[in-house]
């Protein structure tokens, strides 16, 4: 049973999805407990997988017992074990959070909603764990299809946003598929590790076909991760989707795609190829700089709370792409650590936005008016998430900046370092604007005489099913920061196998 942990990570949500369809037709109230149960199993199995990886190194698991390269193989190392655990944890948190929101927003299709939610989690986990490039494409498509549906269940504007996402997503996935096709032509294999071996053994890195494949795959993945300027599908999709959907997809989808990018660059192609032979690092990092600045500035211009957060995701994607392309250990470690840290910070602020929307029915930033007095615990959750996004120690966000800036300095890329710092300041402005509304109200009183705002109002916190996930995520953000060493040591083990220190980009 224990040996099957990698499969259970996937199968638990998948089988629950089937169960939810069947049971949910008759007993709608049974959906929620089933979903939580299924995701608990998945998270527990993910923990078990991670522990096994730490103990025994890379795990190989052949799906259905078919040997690679013909069957689908899971090859789980420190990187995807960590990401898988992150994905399943976020899924669990947003599932708990959805308890009241789903009946309120999609009361007529509870069982359908939950089925889709479980399926998208399954596909995302599959993308993280699979070792097969074509299988990854399939999962990429089905996860996207599922998320279009999840997004379109939101407001009227969500339908249009989902359509835009569908078009962009399909283009991205097609690029990826084409790339994989080219690789298949050259190597005759679809197994990621097999492709890598053939590429090295037959010295195919000089081939133009492989170059085209690399470009197609990279661009495809960039579209899917909303790397500026390929981000246009993202803001509205997450701003107008149902609350739970944006809490689940907002933090996860882009990060999973960053994972795919790292996997492709390092495992399928080779770091020697991507970093040294192509030598595009400098250009891509500058593109990341633009993404960081554009995302932060665009976020400043938003009045809709969730749209603002969506643009932050665009900036954060820039952090990670830049970190990966710095081509040194610190940058890569920083990018991967940031991937995990950012999932939880973003989740934290999205959960907050959802609570505000649930309590006030407004999407505008001004809806946070006076919340420090009314909902101190909720605000405490936001403060932790916001400080982490700004990068104040000892939250997780500080340490990801710590490693990323180290990487930037080691690579001598001062533009990237500056962009990170400026973006920190932009986030400070963004969140202190929210804090100001929450603390002073929208129109603070003039003069000293009348400075006792009518804050005598009773506390009215959100329901426990919404508040506890927020507080739990906030404490995770703190814990990931304080215990960053243990996470980073796993990442360093993973990055260490590539001997990157020698290939610092200059």
């Amino acid at each position: 049973m224990i040996d099957q942990a990698p499969a259970i990570v996937l199968l638990a949500p998948f089988l629950t999805a089937v169960l939810v369809v069947l049971v949910g037709m008759k007993y709608e109230r049974a959906c929620f407990p089933l979903v939580v149960l299924g995701l608990c199993c998945s998270a527990a199995a993910a923990v078990q997988t991670l522990l096994q990886v730490i103990e025994a190194g890379t795990l190989r698991y052949s799906m259905g017992g078919w040997p690679p390269p013909f069957g689908i193989e899971f090859r789980i190392d420190g990187l995807n074990a960590l990401v898988a655990l992150t994905v399943s944890t976020v899924a669990l948190i947003s599932a708990v959070y959805s308890k009241n929101r789903v009946p309120e927003e999609n009361g007529d299709k509870i069982s359908i909603y939950y089925t889709l939610l479980l399926l998208v989690v399954t596909w995302l986990l599959g993308m993280v764990m699979t070792g097969d490039a074509f299988n990854l494409y399939v999962l990429l498509e089905v996860s996207a299809l599922t998320s279009y549906a999840l997004i379109a269940m939101g407001t009227r504007r969500a339908t249009v946003a989902a359509f835009k996402y569908a078009i962009m997503g399909t283009i991205g996935a097609s690029f990826y598929l084409l790339g994989v096709g080219y690789l298949y032509i050259k190597t005759g294999s679809l197994n990621m590790f097999d492709i890598h071996e053939v590429l090295v053994a037959e010295n195919l890195h000089q081939s133009t076909t492989v170059l085209v494949a690399f470009i197609l795959i990279t661009v495809g993945v960039w579209i899917k991760m909303a790397f500026f300027p390929l981000h246009a599908w993202l803001p509205n999709s997450y701003a107008f989707a149902p609350t739970t959907t944006s809490c689940l997809l907002g933090p996860l989808v882009t990060k999973v795609m960053v994972y795919v990018m790292i996997r492709m660059m390092l495992t399928v192609f080779d770091p020697l190829y991507t970093y040294l032979q192509l030598n595009w690092g400098n250009i891509v990092v500058w593109m990341a700089v633009i993404a960081i600045l554009a995302g932060s500035l665009a976020a400043l211009a938003q009045t809709d709370l969730r749209r603002m957060l969506a643009f932050l995701i665009v900036a954060e994607v820039g952090y990670m792409v830049g970190g990966v392309w710095l081509a040194n250990t610190a940058g890569l470690v920083g990018a991967i650590y940031h991937l995990i840290a950012d999932v939880f910070m973003t989740l934290c602020v999205f959960l907050f936005a959802g609570i505000v929307f649930a309590k006030t029915g407004k999407r505008d930033i001004t809806a946070t008016h006076g919340l420090f007095a009314k909902m101190p615990l909720t605000m405490a959750g936001l403060v932790v998430g916001a400080l982490s996004l700004i990068g104040i120690p000892p939250t997780a966000g500080f340490f990801s900046k710590w490693y990323l800036i180290q990487g930037g300095m080691a690579a001598g890329h001062w533009g990237y370092v500056t962009a990170l710092l400026i973006s920190s300041l932009a986030m400070a402005v963004l969140f202190f604007r929210v804090f100001e509304y929450a603390f002073f109200g929208v129109k603070p009183a003039e003069g000293h005489g009348d400075h006792h705002p009518s804050g005598k109002g009773k506390f009215s916190e959100a329901s426990a099913s919404m508040l506890l996930p927020l507080l739990g995520t906030a404490s995770l953000v703190l814990l990931i920061g304080i215990f960053n060493q243990s996470i980073v040591s796993i990442i360093t083990d993973f990055v260490g196998q590539f001997n990157l220190t020698g290939s610092i980009m200059r």
Partner: protein
């Protein structure tokens, strides 16, 4: 030979106690007397813990404790030495008195959200002591940021429009400078030294960075700790005067601003090393920057009619005295600089207490409205006079000693320009302080704005300000504890 370092958790507890005090303060929120009781208990325990370490430090030893290695080679670690001790003693003892004063002030004005006020006050003190006892640049930065954020709700306590704009200026300056200047310098030093950020008495940068890099780092770190209020990054301090007066008194005359200069002192002595700085002749640049601030801020202070703003500009000038003294890099200058942390703190807090007491009793904020106030509030104005003496540096108040050492420090190295700067500034100090006290007592009866009837502020406030005034005078007669500490610290830092 210095005795070996002692491993003890006391410094951690000294910082933590006021952080933990937040819990009882919030729980007792409804019962004001018990709540303030909790503040007092925390203050006294904190002071006791710090004072208990005094003999060890006086003997020339240090107390260390490593809490948690958070990043490879980098720990949240505490280390108490003489310099940190000076600051820790001053901040913790003044917290007790300020709590007393706050009770008078906040209740006298029937301020709202007092529980929040006392909670964040407690947190701020935890951060302040954390800075004082940090063993490395990282821990220092952590507590520095914590202090910026914890004081924000205090600065903006009134929650009105003015508070909002003051709070904006406050955080913009402090956060921008620390994120843009300090953080990258920190990481750069970390990379260059291969993972060392621990303060070492003689500095550790020598040999790791070249002259130009050292200059850039020095400038970044000097301005990055914007809490020190070196011009042009000083505007947050006058803006922060929208805070209730106890906050201005303890935080913006002692804790926050002194954290700024303390960080600069620490970085000069513990990161660069005095010898390294003087080899590269970097001290001179800083003395000029500080000298500019000293003179200009005193001139601006002359023009201010709002009493708290005048005090704020005076503080900006006095902070640069401390930086200037350190940057002289001479034994007497460094000693004077450290002593000035303590001496200025007691003097300036008295002045702020008085300003707050006047506001609480009469509602007056402007100096032009305070003509003849000495007849109505004689105790307060007498204390004000003593406080001014100390800040100007005239005998009978503690400030005399630190200023004497600072002057001595300039002469020691033949820096006569700086001598002139310091003397000019002292004259200016006198010019902006004496008229206030003078016109409070001596004016034509028809000019007086107040009845001759004595009516002081809330008794708690009066007791607090008299206490600090008395201590200010005692420090003239008996500057020994701070002097000895400063001397120990200087010897430790200058021993090559």
């Amino acid at each position: 030979m210095t005795p070996p370092a002692i491993i003890s958790i006391t410094p951690v507890l000294a910082s933590l106690v006021s952080l933990l005090a937040v819990i009882p303060i919030i729980l007792l929120g409804g019962r004001a007397n018990l709540r303030e009781g909790a503040s007092f208990v925390a203050g006294i325990v904190k002071f006791g813990l710090i004072a208990s370490m005094l003999p060890t430090i006086m003997a020339g030893s240090t107390i260390e404790y490593t809490l948690w290695e958070i990043v490879p080679n980098l720990a949240i670690a505490f280390r108490v030495d003489a310099l940190g001790m000076i600051f820790g003693l001053v901040a913790s003892s003044l917290w007790i008195i300020t709590t007393l004063y706050s009770i008078g002030y906040m209740r006298g004005l029937k301020e709202h959200a007092q529980t929040r006020f006392f909670s964040y006050f407690s947190v701020s003190l935890a951060a302040t002591i954390g800075v004082a006892f940090s063993a490395n640049l990282f821990t220092l930065f952590l507590f520095y940021e914590m202090l910026s954020l914890a004081t924000y709700p205090l600065v903006t306590h009134h929650q009105d429009k003015e508070a909002r704009s003051g709070g904006r200026t406050y955080l913009t300056y402090l956060l921008t400078a620390s994120i843009l200047f300090v953080l990258p310098s920190l990481i750069y030093i970390f990379i260059k030294t291969g993972g060392g950020l621990d303060f070492v008495a003689g500095g550790f940068l020598e040999g790791h960075v070249g002259g130009t890099e050292a200059l850039v780092l020095l400038i970044l770190l000097t301005f990055g700790f914007a809490k020190a209020g070196i011009m042009p990054l000083h505007s947050w301090l006058p803006a922060a005067m929208v805070a209730p007066t106890p906050v201005s008194a303890l935080l913006h005359a002692v804790a926050v601003v002194k954290v700024g200069v303390f960080c600069i002192l620490r970085v000069y002595s513990g990161v660069f090393g005095i010898e390294f700085l003087s080899d590269l002749n970097l001290g001179t640049i800083v003395t000029w920057i500080a000298a500019f601030t000293v003179v200009v801020s005193s001139l601006i202070a002359l023009t201010q009619d709002n009493l708290k703003r005048r005090l704020a500009f005076s503080t900006i000038g006095q902070l640069s005295y401390i930086v200037l003294g350190m940057a002289l890099l001479t034994p007497k200058g460094v000693t004077g600089s450290m002593m000035h942390i303590a001496m200025h703190a007691w003097g300036k807090i008295t002045l702020f207490f008085c300003a707050g007491a006047i506001f609480q009793a009469t509602g007056k904020k402007y100096i032009s409205e305070m003509v003849g106030i000495g007849k109505r509030m004689p105790v307060t104005m007498a204390a004000f006079f003593i406080g001014s003496l100390s800040v100007i540096g005239i005998p009978l108040a503690g400030g005399f000693w630190s200023k004497l050492y600072l002057l001595w420090g300039t002469v020691e190295d033949g820096r006569f320009t700086m001598l002139v700067v310091l003397l000019t500034s002292s004259l200016l100090n006198a010019a902006y302080f004496f008229p206030i006290a003078f016109r409070a007592f001596f004016c034509k009866p028809e000019d007086s704005r107040f009845e001759a009837k004595v009516e002081e502020a809330h008794p708690c406030a009066v007791v607090a300000l008299s206490l600090t005034a008395v201590v200010t005078m005692l420090l003239f007669i008996y500057p020994e504890p701070f002097f000895a500490l400063a001397d120990t610290a200087t010897q430790h830092l200058m021993n090559r």
